[in-house]
Symmetry: C2
Subunit: 166 residues, 2 copies
DNA sequence: GCAACCAGTTGCAATTCGCAATCAGTTTAG
DNA sequence: CTAAACTGATTGCGAATTGCAACTGGTTGC
């Protein structure tokens, strides 16, 4: 896991060297949209069933790359709380574009596609708002009060609506 | 390489099952920005040095996923011409966001970062124009004549300007 | 004819992946 | 107080993937 073997200084290549595998972006996704902040939450509450050694390894590299941080949970001596950094939060547009593409071309299920659809329809303006919400919950940033439900709440409500209403 | 083991119907997960490795998106990148259309071009003219068996394997899965197509080159009985499909062309926003993120946070070299910078500054409007150009060169689509150099030409000129002018 | 070029394929060693079991400390229920 | 459950991982091991180098069978240009 040494970072000595850099292939080129191309931004796409460098991004892929950090994120180019089947799990890293899924962990980010769960932290962003599923509000998972503990190891166990990421391990058990995901659709795909990552195994614990892979999760531990990916969290380690995401920490090294400063995409997430880890701090102790004051309520539990063993729990750690993982948070997105600004750098991690700014992966949202990447995920949003990837979700939009997958939604358009791959066999997405209805309940898991609804977030992608809303996020795609909302466009960059909605992404920016959601990123501000993430800055509040992950970085403790102050945020102007908005009227109405947050983007996170709207996405979650839409998801539950599809799940319950079928 | 059977596609039986699908992990979930989430659009991000499905996208990662197709593109979640260190090479697939680099091949797409070279086809889009480097105008590589033949096996040898993709093999030898890339910064990163993919090996031929990996390239052959990735081209195969990209074909299966309908992200690219392959046709015989009429000028050479052995050459194949790889082209992006509409589905492949619409990966441009994903690459653009990934490039913008990498440009902002990773140790990108000046000459390889200039395209990312221009594409990021140009925004979705420039992406749309570039996608139209790709539709012309890869799908044979007719395109309204534009005044001035194309996006592809502008990116290439900027790259060469940095390479020569340092 | 022959060297260079074409798109891959093959063999093999090294690495990574994925599953299951396990670990040691912490908290909670009774 | 004790036992069970929970915490964030770690370990062992077989399977799959990766990466390098050599090679194949054919085509093209000189």
């Amino acid at each position: 896991m040494t970072d000595a073997h850099q292939r080129s200084g191309c931004p796409i290549n460098l991004s892929l060297e950090v994120l180019g595998d089947k799990w890293s972006l899924l962990i980010i996704r769960d932290m962003m949209f599923g509000n998972r902040r503990h190891f166990r939450e990421l391990l058990t509450k995901s659709e795909e069933g990552i195994s614990s050694n892979i999760l531990a390894d990916r969290l380690k590299t995401l920490l090294e790359q400063r995409i997430i941080t880890r701090e102790d949970d004051p309520t539990h001596k063993q729990k750690g709380i993982y948070s997105l950094t600004e750098q991690g939060i700014e992966l949202l547009p990447v995920l949003a574009q990837m979700a939009a593409w997958g939604y358009k071309y791959l066999p997405v299920t209805e309940e898991l596609g609804i977030r992608a659809r809303l996020l795609s329809e909302g466009g960059p303006k909605m992404w920016t708002e959601f990123m501000d919400e993430l800055r509040e919950s992950h970085l403790g940033a102050k945020r102007r009060r908005r009227s109405g439900p947050s983007v996170g709440e709207r996405l979650q409500a839409a998801y539950e609506s599809v799940v319950n209403g079928r």
